[in-house]
């Protein structure tokens, strides 16, 4: 069993292991980052650490401008990234044994695996893919 935080990106439901999340903070003060543009919306002072806030829906190409005021701060294992999402849903307890690789033709971006929950599909976020995309964008 694993605790998964679910959140929406566009019309899809995504999930992230609770273990990967350090804290969820509401309405943090965003600080200007020189030369930041696009998916990098700013930085936050998180207990003295200066962390980048990533607009996850925009990074992964989801339409719509609605963003939840709650920000997900990932653990240092996930490079302490801070994500905004379209909407933070809830925490569910899932049997990870049912985690399936994304089937062929699954066109949602950055999915590590899928799992069905109450007739909805939760796409488990592939954080490595997110990191890789950020590297591609920001490596100069």
């Amino acid at each position: 069993m694993a605790l998964i935080l679910t959140y929406s990106l566009g019309n899809d439901l995504y999930g992230l292991e609770i273990d990967a999340i350090q804290e969820i903070i509401e309405n943090p003060v965003l600080h200007y980052v020189p030369r930041a543009e696009g998916v990098l919306t700013g930085s936050i002072n998180f207990h003295g650490q200066i962390l980048a806030v990533i607009d996850l829906p925009k990074l992964l190409g989801f339409a719509g401008n609605q963003r939840d005021h709650r920000h997900l701060v990932l653990t240092s294992e996930y490079r302490s990234l801070v994500f905004t999402t379209c909407g933070v849903e809830r925490i569910v307890n899932l049997e990870m044994e049912f985690l399936q690789p994304p089937p062929d033709g699954h066109d949602r971006p950055a999915v590590r695996g899928i799992i069905d929950f109450n007739e909805t599909t939760i796409n488990l976020l592939d954080t490595d893919e997110v990191t890789k995309q950020l590297e591609d964008i920001f490596a100069e």
Binding site: Y32, P34, S43, E77, L81
Partner: protein, 622 residues
């Protein structure tokens, strides 16, 4: 001369290089043909070779030289066959063993077997690979000295629909998996399969050393298996990469005593502040705060002291290097050391050790012709440390360098033509550029100067080359005193506050706006009889530049040897700031060197005007 006191330094440094060698080889294995990785590997081997040769550890030096040669052969093709990867790893293990020998004061182990052995040619290997079975892999594994850490992953095996005796097939699969590693869990379990007759797919968590592709092949050979997919547990891999290196430092006890005293005083002051605060006694509060400020300054000074080490600790081995080099090359070289008692932050010192040695070697190898003097001098220059390596040799001719750069494809003819002499001299810092006609053990392969420049840049310093044909060459490194706490100038820019390291600011300017001239796309102003280009900090950050009033504020800075002005909207003063490194992906942004947190929690980013201007490509238009 007694080298024993540098032994420990060598051992810790060499171990670091060996660690990155192994990491790089693994990276290369994952992305074959990545030339940057090959170059990086080559540099690491080169560094070990240089250090070991200096210390007189001959087997280590020969082995790393051998690896370096091997890597050099692949630098042009950019493609390393997998058999060479194995060979490289074996060599790295051997290097590691040699270090263990040195650590335990044993004579260096024999490397002859390895040196005379050649990697199996790639063609033979290809013939062999298709019929490699799991059994082969096991054999390989047992013959290798240190076993790899096994990988844990999740495998999903789908069975063909409606096959007879699906459960039996499932059992067969599980047995096969157990042969290749440890099955931590499976769904369904072996017992369930024995009892029930139905099974559509099998999911298993496997810890195994077997390569996934091979496992997949084996599993697909079992009749009834339709598909095999892997779900990786990447977190585990990440954790492995993040293994931190412990570092130690020696501190004088009297310095530690001072820390204890200062901390004690600070605690007393906290109590005074508390009392003054609860009594709302502003006079008392102010004086206690003032005193606390002084205590913090003292503490800061002491902390820096702990981190400072004299430059001598790394220049001590230079005489030996120069002596050996002169003996080998038959040149008569005199080394002079000046001002090496200057204290430098430990981290900076560690990072400049290799670059400094390299510069001295270059001076002997390429600077001096038959007889001459190499001078290493150091000193404080405002908030910076200036370290200069100078020779009185033949000097470098910018024209020769231009031609050489064009010949080796580093720059185009047109680029070379429009290059200033100063930029031409900096060409020696380009990867793959070498002016030496022949390769020696120490230098002349175009490796090194790019490392030197990169190391200095990473520390927030600058490298400057001054050379005159017939007079000699001077390499000047300017480095910050400390990398954690620096003096910053706070400026206003498009409604935001930004910090610029004082070391990047030659002076601040308040120019009468009417005296700024426009020439095509450029703005110019006069300073000390010189026409200087004026750029806008806001524009380099893609922000709108507000129109200046009667006075245009700017800082005077230097980009590639040219003085340039950088317009800001105003100055907010300067102060000491504790610079925090920024997290991913902020650390990838060019021109951001860190950030500092203000008293009220606001985050101010520190920008490097030179990097910003270079990035903005405005200066190249000149």
């Amino acid at each position: 001369m007694d080298m024993s006191k540098y032994r420990e330094l060598f051992l810790s440094e060499a171990r670091e290089h060996i660690n990155s060698l192994s990491q790089l080889v693994v990276t290369l294995e994952q992305e074959p043909g990545n030339r940057e990785t090959i170059d990086a590997l080559f540099r690491e081997a080169h560094s070990i070779k240089g250090m070991a040769a200096t210390m007189g550890f001959n087997n280590t030096a020969r082995l790393s030289h051998h690896l370096e040669d091997l890597l050099d052969g692949f630098r042009n093709s950019g493609d390393i066959p997998s058999v060479t990867i194995d060979y490289l790893l074996e060599g790295i293990d051997l290097l590691d063993g040699l270090l263990d020998d040195l650590l335990d004061d044993r004579p260096e182990r024999n490397t002859e077997d390895f040196l005379t052995k050649q990697p199996v040619p790639a063609a033979d290997r290809e013939k062999k690979s298709p019929d490699r079975s799991i059994a082969d892999v096991d054999d390989d594994e047992s013959s290798k000295a240190p076993p790899e850490e096994p990988d844990t992953f999740q495998v999903l095996i789908e069975l063909e629909k409606g096959i007879p005796a699906a459960a039996a097939c499932g059992i067969l699969i599980l047995r096969e998996l157990e042969k290749s590693g440890k099955v931590k869990a499976s769904k369904p379990e072996m017992d369930e399969l024995r009892e029930e007759g139905d099974c559509e797919q099998i999911q298993a968590w496997l810890t195994s050393l077997v390569e996934k592709e091979q496992l997949k092949e084996t599993l697909l050979n079992i009749s009834g298996v339709a598909n095999v997919r892997f779900i990786e547990d990447r977190r585990k891999n990440d954790r492995r990469l993040r293994r931190a290196v412990d570092r130690t430092i020696r501190v004088r006890t009297d310095l530690l005593d001072q820390f204890v005293n200062l901390t004690g005083e600070l605690i007393t002051h906290r109590n005074m502040l508390n009392t003054a605060g609860s009594n709302r006694n502003w006079d008392e509060l102010n004086s206690a705060l003032e005193r606390a400020g002084r205590l913090i300054d003292d503490l800061h000074h002491n902390v820096l002291q702990v981190r400072l080490m004299p430059l001598q600790s790394i220049t001590g081995r230079l005489p030996r290097i120069v002596r050996d080099l002169s003996r080998k090359s038959g040149k008569k070289v005199n080394l002079q050391l000046n001002g090496t008692d200057v204290g430098i932050d430990r981290v900076i010192l560690e990072e400049i050790t290799d670059p400094l040695v390299h510069l001295v070697r270059n001076a002997v190898d390429h600077g001096i012709e038959e007889e001459g003097v190499v001078t290493v001098s150091a000193g404080r220059e405002k908030d910076l440390i200036l370290i200069e390596v100078a020779d009185n040799g033949k000097g470098m001719d910018p024209q020769t360098l231009r031609q050489k750069a064009v010949d080796s494809g580093v720059v185009t003819q047109a680029q070379a033509h429009s290059m200033s002499d100063r930029d031409a001299l900096m060409l020696v810092c380009r990867p793959g550029f070498s002016t030496a006609q022949e390769v020696t053990e120490t230098s002349g392969r175009g490796v090194g100067m790019d490392v030197v420049r990169a190391a200095i840049r990473n520390l927030g310093g600058t490298l400057n080359i001054i050379s005159e044909v017939g007079t000699g060459t001077r390499f000047q490194m300017r480095l910050p005193l400390s990398i954690a706490i620096i003096k910053i100038l706070l400026v206003r820019c498009a409604g935001r506050v930004l910090a610029i390291p004082i070391t990047r600011v030659q002076r601040t300017l308040d120019l009468p706006t009417s005296e700024i001239q426009t020439s095509g796309p450029h703005r110019l102003f006069r300073l000390d009889e010189e026409e200087i280009c004026l750029y806008s900090l806001a524009e380099t950050l893609n922000l709108p530049q507000a129109a200046a009033g009667d006075i245009t504020w700017a800082i005077l800075t230097e980009v590639r040897g040219l003085r340039v002005g950088l317009q800001v909207d105003g100055f907010l003063g300067q102060r000491d700031a504790f610079i925090k490194p920024t997290g991913f992906p902020l650390n990838l942004l060019t021109g951001l060197s860190g950030a500092t947190v203000e008293g009220d929690g606001r985050v101010t980013f520190v920008v490097d005007p030179q990097a910003l201007l270079e990035k903005h490509k405005m200066v190249t238009n000149l």
